[in-house]
């Protein structure tokens, strides 16, 4: 337990619309250890997005416990969650979600500014991570001047900037041409090798095959949890 980054136990999420109750997650439990590279798979409607939101501190479970890097998350307030998201989680979204018409550098600096890191250090760290993802020549480019793959790499640099406990990627290659998707997967592999914990939500088996462990969700239930590769 000591080295687990994520520990969820009996997590359920029930949406209530009027009289109708929909169970999106039904008592899901698992642990993810530091340095793991995990893919969470499932068809659409399986509840994997809901799980991703809960893991990312964007939403709260209806019941169950969630310990992220030693902290109980399930009962935190909005601003406490914002702090957790800022310091513990590096988000990588399918649609990149960069600030439009803003430079790569500023985008990468944004979470660090919210984390009250001095501006000079923000700049240094942003440059370092942009270099890590191979965008040292695109530092001052505006996001709309970059290709999809490049935008996603800016997003990865942004996710790394606060040195989070885990990277949480939601269909990271969903909007990207396959050649560039491979680049993204290479970066993920390299980051994992350097010790970063990666949790990736996807419905594509060949993307999931890059991970070392695959958790499969269906109809809100965990149906399989397999180690697929040894490091």
């Amino acid at each position: 337990m000591k080295d687990s980054i994520i520990s969820i136990k009996d997590i359920s999420k029930i949406y209530r619309v009027g009289e109708v109750e929909t169970t999106a997650l039904d008592k899901v439990s698992f642990e993810i250890k530091k340095g793991e590279y995990v893919a969470i798979m499932g068809p659409s409607g399986s509840g994997k997005s809901t799980l991703m939101h809960i893991l990312g501190g964007l939403d709260q479970p209806t019941s169950g416990t969630y310990i992220l890097d030693g902290q109980n998350v399930e009962s935190m307030s909005g601003d406490q969650l914002a702090d957790i998201r800022n310091r513990k989680i590096g988000f990588i979204f399918q649609a990149y979600n960069l600030l439009a018409r803003t430079s790569s550098l500023k985008n990468v600096m944004l979470p660090m500014r919210y984390g009250d890191i001095p501006i000079e250090e923000c700049r240094e760290r942003a440059l370092k991570y942009l270099k890590l993802v191979g965008l040292e020549n695109r530092v001052n480019h505006l996001t709309n001047q970059l290709s999809g793959g490049q935008q996603q790499r800016v997003a990865i640099a942004r996710a790394l900037s606060m040195n989070p406990a885990m990277l949480l990627a939601d269909e990271p290659t969903g909007n990207i041409a396959s050649a560039q998707a491979d680049e993204i997967m290479d970066i993920f592999a390299k980051l994992n090798k350097d010790g970063h914990t990666i949790v990736m939500i996807t419905h594509e088996p060949d993307i999931a095959s890059h991970a070392h462990r695959v958790i499969t969700i269906k109809d809100g239930k965990l149906i399989s949890d397999k180690i697929t590769k040894r490091k």
Partner: protein, 410 residues
């Protein structure tokens, strides 16, 4: 994040959509601009009217013939014939009237003034020698007449600088007129002095006057026995009421009138005239400011509208910012800052526009140009407050968005 960074960011965001930013600001610019223009023009016109009234001299009471009908409607000044030179003499010679310093009987009327081929039509004032010094009118060139001129009813005249240029041309020197003969009405007069330029516009131009001895005006020129008015200078501003009483009772007694309500003259105070003018300009200014305030309100609603649109448009951005760790307070500050920047910059432009309008107005009416400093401060304050008030609801709305809902928003 510090405030300087937020200000920079919000200005950057506003610049991304210049057209919309400009239109949103327009309401504030018009509102603030009209407040500044109106208050500045109001203050300037009040100052110039006050200066005009005060230039007539301090501690002055004006006794006019004709009854004070009911405080609002009064017989036309100079319309009555009830005041005489003897009334004025009675006021000045009675040593028991302690509040009275100088008594200036006047008969004035319009007349045609002719010098060789030039002529002009202006006010001719029949006065006593004390008049000019008591009213702060200086003879720039030449001399005032004296009591013996009055006694012997001589035909001498002191002219104002406007009369000089009317008769002798625009480049005339005072010395051109001295000793020359001009014709007033049917009589010839010798010019013995030219007064200093005093200014004053409209129907109250104190430079466009001719002064002659009162006796000459009454007996020779116009053939009347009465006065247009008696101006009384009191010994101080603290004795104005006392002076009004002393004048009133002396004249009532001389005119054998027992009932004050039936008095055949009226006494007016400079302060009364000032108060009347101030109250009129004050009412006008506050009325117009009210209209301007309504336009500011409309401008503020425009700001709120545009901020609500902005919040909706940027739902995904707000979701992202929250996902990356922005706390609610920071989202509120960000959107409030944008609204305040809109109104604050709008306010600055409005102040400039208002000042320019006030300047153009002053130039075109050759009046005073005053920038109402209190109005400028008020405008800064009000425009900022409008930003906070009308930006508050949209900012709250932005901060309450749930990050997942916002991220999903298309």
């Amino acid at each position: 994040m510090d405030h300087r960074e937020l200000i920079g960011e919000s200005i950057g965001t506003l610049l991304l959509n210049k057209m919309r930013t400009g239109l949103a600001m327009l309401g504030i610019v018009i509102g603030i601009g009209s407040v500044i223009a109106l208050l500045s023009i109001g203050e300037a016109s009040q100052k110039s009217i006050t200066a005009q009234i005060q230039s007539l001299g301090a501690n002055i009471l004006t006794v006019s013939p004709g009854a004070e009908r009911n405080g609002l409607v009064r017989g036309v000044s100079g319309g009555g014939t009830t005041l005489t030179y003897d009334d004025a003499m009675a006021l000045s010679s009675d040593k028991t009237l302690t509040a009275i310093k100088t008594v200036l009987p006047i008969y004035n009327s319009r007349s045609q003034i002719v010098y060789s081929a030039s002529n002009t039509n202006t006010q001719v004032y029949g006065i006593t020698p004390e008049y000019l010094s008591a009213r702060n009118i200086k003879v720039a060139t030449g001399a005032n007449f004296n009591q013996s001129d009055l006694n012997s009813i001589t035909n001498v005249a002191i002219i104002g600088p406007t009369v000089l240029t009317s008769l002798w041309g625009d480049s005339a020197q005072d010395s051109d007129a001295l000793g020359q003969n001009i014709r007033i009405g049917a009589l010839n007069f010798t010019v013995i002095g030219v007064t200093e330029t005093k200014g004053g516009g409209g129907g109250n131009n104190q430079d466009d006057l001719v002064y002659i001895p009162l006796s000459t005006a009454q007996k020779k020129l116009f053939g009347v026995k009465y006065l247009s008015s008696i101006i009384v200078e009191t010994t101080g501003q603290d004795v104005m009421t006392q002076a009004m009483n002393q004048i009133g009772y002396t004249l009532l007694d001389r005119h054998h009138i027992k009932d004050v309500a039936k008095a055949d003259f009226s006494i007016r105070n400079q302060q009364d005239m000032l108060n009347a003018v101030s109250s009129v300009t004050g009412t006008l200014t506050s009325l117009l400011s009210g209209v301007a305030a309504i336009s500011l309100l409309v401008g503020g609603i425009g700001i709120m509208n545009i901020m609500l649109v902005t919040v909706t448009e940027r739902t995904r951005e707000i979701g992202l910012r929250k996902a990356l760790g922005a706390k609610n307070r920071l989202i509120i500050i960000q959107f409030l800052m944008e609204a305040v920047m809109l109104t604050f910059i709008g306010g600055i432009i409005g102040i400039l526009v208002g000042v320019i309008i006030a300047y153009i107005y002053a130039k075109s009416t050759s009046g005073l140009f005053i920038v109402s400093i209190s109005a400028v401060f008020l405008a800064f304050f009000v425009s900022t407050i409008i930003g906070i008030v009308f930006g508050w609801y949209p900012a709250q709305k932005a901060s309450r968005l749930q990050p997942i809902e916002a991220l999903r928003y298309e």
